[in-house]
């Protein structure tokens, strides 16, 4: 059955967005990512204009991440304090990022540098995560060297002022750490036009040393607020949110997020990490292909940021 989308001005088979929502919601509940990397291009493939695909996806993520945050919160896996500090940093980072885009686009080829940096970062983070989690799963002794390296980072982190205890995560950090990290991810997210979950999750694990299950819940909590802001700005300034499409997507994604959260609880932290590392690497490869293969259409609708 087809349904007409009043803002996207196109018609879509309702099974497609519901199915897509289910799949992406599952990833979201499992790994604490928004899933925009997957959803937006798939929607564009279904004939949704790119600007509307991106904006509507953030509306849908509001629902999926509410559902996911709720599921993780019920079992005590959301660190609200940490989430709020990261959000605070992310908000400032987003503003800086938007300014950054203006500056960079004035410089010309900057888009190229940003994309390369992003692909490299994703590739390095994915590979590191994969190797590290396989090693620590096989033999806990072999990552002693890694532990030493991390102690150096943690001594530095310990030397910072404003130390505070994050009860839920069981870690103590300076409030500056989540603020600065949130800000960095916010800048990148604004420039790249992605949510940043893929960078945030590894950062929470390797630098903030939070337990994997709390990371997923906290990341979803943070994504929820970011996407509320984006949804509002997009619908207010660009009129690009297709509410009908968002409802179809969230029918699947809210359920997917619950299933993902339940499934994630049955996995060990290490297993989650390996799966996430694999997905990060798949995304890296996807972006590399996107950048190097000749596109079928050399023209696309302009708009967005």
């Amino acid at each position: 059955m087809h349904l007409y989308l009043p803002v996207a001005l196109t018609s879509i088979n309702i099974l497609i967005p519901v199915g897509l929502g289910l799949a992406v919601g599952l990833l979201s509940g499992l790994f604490g990512v928004g899933g925009g990397f997957l959803m937006t291009p798939l929607l564009i493939m279904c004939g949704i204009p790119s600007t509307i695909a991106a904006a509507t996806d953030s509306n849908q993520i509001v629902a999926a991440s509410t559902s996911g945050t709720y599921a993780h919160w019920r079992v005590g896996n959301v660190d609200f304090k940490m989430g709020l500090y990261l959000l605070g940093g992310g908000f400032v980072g987003g503003l800086l990022g938007v300014e950054g885009i203006k500056m960079l686009s004035a410089m010309g080829n900057a888009g190229f540098v940003i994309k390369i940096t992003y692909v490299l970062m994703l590739g390095i983070v994915g590979t590191y995560m994969l190797i590290e989690s396989i090693q620590s799963m096989r033999n806990r002794k072999t990552d002693e060297t890694a532990m030493n390296k991390e102690t150096r980072i943690s001594t530095f982190l310990k030397s910072l002022p404003f130390q505070t205890r994050f009860e839920k995560s069981g870690v103590t950090h300076s409030v500056l750490v989540p603020l600065v990290l949130g800000c960095l991810v916010g800048i990148l997210a604004a420039i790249m036009g992605v949510g940043g979950g893929f960078l945030m999750v590894p950062i929470m694990f390797y630098i903030l040393r939070m337990p994997m299950h709390v990371i997923v819940g906290t990341s979803l909590f943070q994504i929820l607020f970011t996407c509320i802001e984006v949804t509002f700005l997009q619908s207010y300034t660009n009129h690009t949110v297709d509410f009908t499409l968002a409802v179809l997507l969230l029918l699947g994604s809210t359920i997917g997020a619950q299933v993902g959260a339940v499934f994630g609880r049955k996995l060990k932290g290490e297993q989650l990490k390996i799966l996430l590392a694999l997905i990060v690497l798949v995304v890296t490869v996807k972006i590399i292909f996107e950048l190097t293969l000749t596109p079928s259409l050399l023209i696309s609708q302009a708009g967005g940021h």
């Binding site: 349904l3 509001v62 559902s67 709720y70 619908s235 949110v241 809210t254 619950q258 596109p295």
Partner: protein, 261 residues
Amino acid sequence: MKKLKSAAFFVFACSLVYALSTGTASAKLTSIANHDHITIDFFYHGSSVSVRGEADPGTDVIIKITDPEGHHVVNKKGKIGGMLWMNVGTLKFEKVPNFYAVYSTRKLEDILSQEEREKYVIGYPELEKHAEITPIANEEEKATWFNEFVKFKEDSHVYALSSGAISTTMQPDGRQTYYILTDWPYQAAPGKYQVAVYAVKNKKVVEQAESTVFVEQVGVVKALSSMAKNNAALYGFLSIGIALSAGFGVGLVFRKSGGSH
């Protein structure tokens, strides 16, 4: 809600049998666009439009359906550093319609001279000549990007060019009638579309007739799309509110039904 939808569907069904002939430009050539008022409701998945009429015996017929010319800004992709494809800037297209469909009884080049095709902007090369594209360095570049533009538009089914789709019949009394039934793509935006019919003889347009196709959103579809434009803040809050409650709602349902392990 259901009532409203079925009402909207009824309107849609009625418009299928609703036919209207519009003023014709000549005594001989006539054109009637059947189903010329297309309404878009939630169940809209494109429609069909038929154009029929009478043309002098021995003439060929060309039908051009367009919406008003306007300007379009698109992103162009290019290779950077010899290996990576990225958006490398924008192009502005002026004097091109968003919708452009040309049907003819035979190949355009065989029935109409180049000057005439250019005069009436019939065919892609002629539309290219008519269009203004900025910024471009030379004619060669203009041709390249215009071709890409056509590919982009054809991909979303709003540009089409086909010959042989119009059928002509000689009536016993010596009159010639033509008829075409064509799919109307759901990608075509709401608006007023102009149907121009040209009777062609000796490579020249000898007569012209016109009618219109009107595409309009109705009911909830119309209400939502106008709210998104005219009441954007409320629309944004509503979208967020529904998403939040849907997320919580599903969370509660799962808490009640499942969650045991």
